[in-house]
């Protein structure tokens, strides 16, 4: 699931300077689940913007809308089609894909991102998410006991661990973070499959997915 985080208001205000009526567009899918850009967050950001501009002469006028899934053209047009003509700029609370879908459809109006899309992840506990997959296009999990070294090891090593592991099997860059390769070692040891870690792995094909990636279904 895509995880994102709201930008600080200062940054958003700078983007919107010069525009008076704004459409704040949320998305009901990934960014709702990670509490970043759902309908509730649209309401909160709109309140903040109105409060911020309440001092000025003619303050901001804000339209609020939430698209079912902001990376689908039909859904964007269906939800925002009639509101965009009434505004000067669109503040999208979708992930990067959402922002660009909206920008491609309404080319006449500037579209600004209100979120920073951070990673593909899963919930650690309610309200906290961790990165699990780097979408590298050439999955290595079968050889690492289901723990991804490309993303969860700070250096993305295939023949880990590095020499910098801290006492207690923690990562070099953060004493709280478990070293991915120590986790892999323990799990493979438990499964009696340590030979997987002992095997040498060739340098990775970092162009398995030519960026920007494009996938076409066989029958498309």
């Amino acid at each position: 699931m895509i995880i994102a985080q709201r930008k600080p208001l200062e940054e958003i205000k700078n983007m919107l300077s010069g525009y008076k009526n704004i459409l704040v567009a949320g998305c009901r899918t990934c960014v709702t689940i990670c509490w970043a850009g759902g309908e509730k967050e649209v309401g909160i950001l709109s309140s903040q913007l109105k409060l911020a501009s309440s001092g000025e002469r003619n303050g901001l006028s804000i339209l609020e809308a939430t698209v079912e899934r902001q990376c689908e053209k039909e859904m964007v047009i269906d939800e925002l089609g009639d509101k965009v003509p009434e505004v000067e700029a669109i503040l999208s609370m979708g992930c990067g894909a959402g922002v660009q879908t909206v920008a491609d459809i309404f080319e006449g109006k500037p579209v600004f991102p209100a979120l920073n899309t951070t990673f593909v992840g899963m919930p650690e506990k309610e309200g906290a998410w961790v990165e699990m997959c780097g979408a590298c296009g050439d999955c290595f999990l079968d050889r690492s006991g289901g723990i991804c070294p490309v993303v969860r090891c700070a250096k993305g090593l295939l023949n880990g661990p590095c020499g910098g592991t801290r006492r207690g099997g923690k990562c070099e860059i953060d004493p709280e973070k478990e070293c991915a390769w120590v986790l892999i070692y323990r799990r493979l040891e438990k499964q009696g499959r340590l030979d997987l870690m002992r095997k040498y792995y060739e340098p990775k094909n970092y162009r398995a997915v030519k960026r920007p990636g494009r996938v076409k279904a066989a029958t498309a």
């Binding site: 700070a154 880990g160 661990p161 590095c162 592991t165 892999i184 070692y185 870690m197 040498y200």
Partner: protein, 296 residues
Amino acid sequence: MAIRFREALRTKDFIVTAEAGPVKGANTQKMLEHIELLKGRVDALNVTDNQSSVMRYPSLGTCLLIKEHGGEPILQITCRDRNRLAIQADLLFAYSRGVDNVLCLTGDSIDVGDHREAKPVFDLDSVQLIYLVHTLNSGKDMAGSELDGGVDFCIGASATPSADPIGPQLVKFQKKLDAGVDFIQTQAIYDLEELKGFMEHARKMDKRVKILAGIVLLVGAKMAAFMNENVPGIFVPQHFIDELAQAPKGTGLSKGIEIAGRLIREIREKKICDGVHIMAIGREEKVPEILEAAGL
């Protein structure tokens, strides 16, 4: 002209190497002084490659300086700053100028350095780098094309004997040995029991490879505690920190030299391993005093 490091590895029974850290700038004066001071007293001089991810004068540049002044350099290469094209190109250039010892490292992470927003490379890791050097030695590049003019490198790698848990490190160490290395220079060693334990494992894996124990010069209790927290792969036991703390004001450095000397002497006398690699980070001028303290 110092004898070639490869010869030293074959002939000498106790090998001593030291580390020359490049400066953060283009003024090579200080480096030249260190080179003159150390070139005759050690079997080879390692040159770090942006140590702790802090940008400095390039390792290859300093190696050429050492070569020009009759010393025997060891080129350190990390996988953090260059992808496989750049590394192969650098190796060809190094060899063409007579630098034929290379220490293959993964490299510290960007987060511990002074350019924390840089894009880390890590196209290769240390084991893959060792295989790469072997490929070049066999006259081909990684894409399989023939080289016009081959190379023949003496290959080194590092190891972390004081890692906890030790299991994963031994797996990595075995991979490096399988890849084929001529010498090993370990991370800082302070607990000789741990070193002995590591050596037992190592000897079971490979009798031939020469293993040099890494000795990092301690300057004071505060610096030792700082290193524990921030420098990857270094773990100074508390009793050494206390010993340094008790040393009277201003004598921290000489206490550090004395500790280093003691460690080296014990390693040598008890033949724990094949030599030492002295890392006097930022105090290369003290290396001769350490050698004296160790009776070398």
